[in-house]
């Protein structure tokens, strides 16, 4: 014991790390920094979990376009605890995105970004962007059919950047097409380049938090006054501050540990996302879909008017980022309490509801044709008339059923046609079929007159 103490004393004398750690651990924090303050550290816990599980996955993953799929199969099906490991990495990414989102909302609602913490907020905005970038590049490393087509979608989005669109897309893919360089690049982005910026910014973010101190819980009627705030904060800490360790740290530790427990539980229960078909761009009968955190954007692109979409693909995210970065300069003094900032609270609720609504819509994807729709059964057709039966068959074969529902069967892109004959006459139906509609192909040149007649006859039975 004596020898160990001697070694530790020697180490402390030569490094000074113990003193530094104690200074950080014991730095005073404002009283009342309770559960609302745990989400930033929970994000850090998730990041550490991601680094550790990522390193473990890298021991088995083959970052080569030709073998990555097989190595993922090996990890999932044969490696000891491989399925759980992939599951933890997947749910860890989800956890990190959820925590960073809640942390940002908390900082915004309590206006903790105001003077003198503007740069802390800006570093946080960049960390948020990098976290999303990690999530997306991670999805691409799941190098199956979905990964391949998702990278094509990403390249298409980059292609909309004015002037440098095509070169940017080529840089992402590592060439003119998906190929050998693509996965090597995604691996490099996910494992080296983006994490390097994350580590740098996490270091800066934590340094800024320590430098300015944790923002005190806001109080109505106690505005931030730029000339007086620093002095007031210093005196408040001196008078009422409590050491971070253990008075505030236990909550961070407990919540972070519980977050990891939930991630582990989800990984064991549900496992990682299943692999789809092999990464072959010549397999086209597949439906690429992003992971849940990109679903809201996916939905937005589907719902946006097509004529503005190409512009909004670039301008939308750019405007959002510029708004977030500039926000502390528009509003960096005055009230911090949510009770005195009702518009900020209302705006946040609107954004959350909007994003959650888009997410739910993206889950359902009503704009996607339902290719798995089956031909209508006799119980739905309810007719023995040969023309009507033929019309019902055409309704399936001409892909109408992919987009329209009839008595609960079919897609959601177009209107439900279960009772269309109540709304439209035979002539109106014919006109609609021949000329198409707002978002419907004109079938005039795609069907014979007999086919058109049979289809209208069938639709006329839908009352």
């Amino acid at each position: 014991m004596h020898t160990i103490r001697k070694i530790l004393r020697w180490l402390e004398d030569r490094t000074g790390l113990g003193e530094l750690a104690m200074r950080v651990a014991k730095h005073p924090v404002p009283p009342g920094s309770k559960w609302a303050y745990v989400f930033g550290s929970a994000t850090l816990f998730c990041l550490i979990l991601q680094v550790i599980t990522g390193v473990a996955l890298a021991l088995m993953y083959q970052p080569s376009s030709s073998t990555a799929y097989q190595s993922l199969q090996f990890i999932t099906e044969r490696a000891r605890f491989g399925r759980v490991l992939r599951g933890i990495h997947y749910f860890g990414a989800s956890g990190m995105i959820v925590m960073v989102g809640i942390h940002m909302i908390r900082v915004y609602i309590t206006a903790a970004y105001k003077y003198p913490r503007e740069v802390t907020w800006i570093s946080g905005v960049f960390l948020f962007i990098l976290t999303i970038a990690m999530g997306f590049t991670g999805q691409l490393l799941r190098w199956d059919s979905n990964g391949v087509w998702s990278s094509v979608v990403a390249a298409e989005q980059l292609g909309r950047i004015p002037l440098i669109g095509r070169p940017a897309a080529r840089l992402l893919l590592g060439g003119d097409t998906i190929g050998g360089h693509s996965l090597s690049r995604f691996f490099s982005y996910h494992v080296f380049i983006v994490p390097a910026f994350i580590f740098l910014l996490v270091g800066l973010h934590v340094y800024f938090v320590l430098h300015h101190g944790i923002s005190e819980p806001p109080k109505a009627g106690r505005p931030v006054v730029r000339d007086k705030y620093r002095q007031w904060y210093k005196e408040m800490l001196k008078e009422k501050g409590v050491p971070f360790w253990p008075y505030a740290a236990w909550r961070d530790l407990l919540f972070g540990a519980l977050t990891i427990c939930v991630i582990l539980g989800l990984a064991v229960l549900f496992g990682p996302p299943g692999l789809t078909e092999p990464p072959d761009p010549s397999l086209v009968h597949t439906t690429p879909k992003p992971d849940w955190y990109m679903l809201a954007i996916f939905a937005l692109f589907a719902l946006m008017p097509p004529r503005i979409e190409s512009y909004m693909i670039v301008l939308g995210p750019l405007a959002t980022v510029i708004f977030l970065l500039c926000m502390p300069f528009f509003s960096n003094k005055g009230e911090r309490s949510p009770l005195r900032r009702p518009w900020a609270v209302f705006g946040t609720i609107c954004v959350v509801v909007f994003v959650f609504g888009l997410f739910l819509t993206g889950m359902h994807s009503p704009w996607s044709p339902k290719f798995k729709a089956m031909p209508l059964p006799a119980s739905t057709i309810r007719s023995s008339d040969s023309v009507v039966v033929r019309g019902a068959s055409l309704f399936y074969r001409k892909a109408c059923l992919y987009c329209h529902k009839i008595e609960g069967q079919g897609g959601d892109t177009g209107p439900d046609l279960s009772a269309v004959a109540r709304r439209l006459t035979a002539d109106e139906l014919k006109l609609r079929l021949v000329n198409g509609g707002r978002n419907m192909p004109a079938y005039g040149g795609l069907m014979t007159n007999d086919e058109l007649k049979a289809l209208v006859e069938f639709l006329q039975t839908r009352k």
Binding site: V153, S282, P288, L446
Partner: protein
């Protein structure tokens, strides 16, 4: 700054020291630039090297009915040895007449998702956001901003050949 260092800074050879510092900074800058050239080259390599367009046989004339549309696949130009299945690209090939073919890219012009040919509906349909195209590749419905991209196609010694092309990327304003 202690007294000794202040004295040192005021010494007559201060100009020499400043000169040496400039030399050191210059050499450091040159070495940093020199080292970054191969690093940047590796990053920007895709912009510096353009693979040539090569003709790839995709199907024979026999058994390909006039009016039929088939999914064909071919190898990209100069694929790397480690590209595996990602070296392949798909196209939709239609026989318009005895010696006339049209080849469409399988990528939707909206966001690049794989379009599929619905032979009975005579439509190309995209699973992602519901884009649809007529048999000639023009937009029938949904968000695609332009028609399906066409590949060059030819008949050579009884084989139908498609010329390899870059992944069709839709740019702003198209």
């Amino acid at each position: 700054m202690n007294k000794n260092s202040t004295d040192e800074a005021n010494q007559p050879d201060r100009g020499r020291r400043e000169f040496l510092m400039k030399i050191a900074l210059g050499v450091a800058g040159v070495s940093a630039i020199a080292a970054s050239v191969p690093v940047l080259a590796s990053f920007f390599a895709p912009l510096l090297e353009r693979p040539p367009g090569l003709w790839r046989p995709v199907a024979g004339l026999e058994g390909f009915e006039v009016g039929a549309t088939r999914l064909v696949s071919f190898e990209n130009a100069e694929p790397e040895a480690w590209a595996g299945t990602t070296a392949r690209t798909a196209a939709w090939l239609r026989r318009d007449a005895a010696e006339s073919f049209t080849a469409f890219s399988a990528n939707c012009t909206h966001l690049g998702c794989p379009v599929r040919w619905e032979s009975e509906a005579h439509l190309f349909m995209c699973p992602c956001h519901g884009g649809a195209y007529y048999p000639d590749g023009s937009v029938a419905a949904g968000p695609p901003p332009k028609p399906l991209v066409r590949y060059s196609v030819r008949v050579n010694n009884g084989n139908i050949e498609i010329r390899t092309s870059p992944l069709p990327i839709t740019t702003i304003g198209e």
